[in-house]
């Protein structure tokens, strides 16, 4: 019995198919979820994919946060459902207040699309157990509003509680304390600006590699769900 991992498609989502493909690659059962779904079809975990949900109108993720499926995701996340928000998904998680802080326009105003070196800072989350603390990985970023910001108190708290999941080695956008990803206190909800689902295959991953540094996000959750 394999784990069922849902991927939500909002109007304007772009990376839902890549996320579904990454789920299938590691041997989990991918389940497509629709933004109008009021329930989560018995999935064991949820991925909110990258893209421009609702055209990024108002603020990135602001409209998606009030979609019917998000009510179910928010309720589930508070009860321990593993949720990974990638890029736009991270923005949705911040707008939902499942994660603290916000993602604002990149420092140089540029939309940045390149492979980025990250350092894994926490392996105690549901999505990062298969990494080692301090491990350096190569994952693509592609965003215009990826600069993480929060008040100093929140940033101190994230650092002290080991909730900074990944940092940029070469901060591309002015993100506070080089933050590329964070987790909630329980570790089941993770938001990540870079795209691990674009680094899962030799053919399409970063070139020249390593091309598959994103895979452990998906193997981590699968192992946890199978063991549960």
């Amino acid at each position: 019995m394999s784990a069922r991992i849902g991927v939500v498609t909002f109007p304007g989502s772009q990376d839902d198919q890549d996320a579904l493909r990454a789920v299938a690659l590691v041997g989990a059962e991918p389940v497509a979820l629709w933004h109008r779904d009021a329930d989560l079809h018995q999935v064991d975990a949820v991925i909110l994919p990258g893209g421009f949900s609702y055209g990024d109108y108002l603020r990135a993720g602001a409209i998606a946060r009030f979609s019917p499926v998000m009510e179910a995701v928010i309720t589930g996340a508070r009860e321990g459902l593993p949720v990974l928000g990638i890029c736009n998904g991270f923005q949705v998680l911040c707008e939902s207040h499942l994660l603290p802080g916000a993602l604002i326009r990149n420092g140089g105003l540029l939309f940045i699309n390149r492979d980025e070196r990250l350092r894994i800072e926490s392996t105690t989350t549901a999505w990062t157990a298969d990494y080692a603390v301090g491990q350096e990985i190569l994952i693509p970023i592609k965003n215009g509003e990826g600069r993480f910001t929060a008040d100093e108190h929140t940033l101190d708290e994230l650092a002290a509680e080991g909730r900074i999941v990944a940092r940029y080695l070469d901060n591309p956008n002015g993100s506070a304390r080089d933050i590329a990803g964070i987790a909630n206190a329980a570790g089941n909800v993770v938001g990540l600006m870079p795209h691990p689902e674009h680094a899962v295959e030799e053919l399409t991953g970063p070139y020249p590699g390593p091309a598959t540094d994103g895979l452990p996000f998906f193997t981590s959750i699968l192992k946890q769900l199978v063991a549960a």
Partner: protein, 112 residues
Amino acid sequence: MARVVVDVMLKPEILDPQGQAVQRALPRLGFDGIVDVRQGKRFEIELAGPADDAALARAREIAERLLANTVIEQFDVRFDTALDSASAASPASAATAHGTAPSAAVTEQAAS
């Protein structure tokens, strides 16, 4: 009808790279002495019913819930009086009239 304006601005401590880009463009156009530019959003909301405290409270709730992300933004809610003071005044007087005996004059005013 109550017409409410909501201004949403990034908090002062949040960097505004868009405002900075505008500021940097201005001297090239010959506008000197520009000390700072901040960019924000303005919403114009029309609410059914009188322009009273309840209408402002509703607009404030809308701003808090959706229009602004209070983690990074602050907002200001006010009646739009400058745009059309006549239409802002008539619903208020019509509302007052509902509390009193209706008269031909009030009916005429409410219909205008």
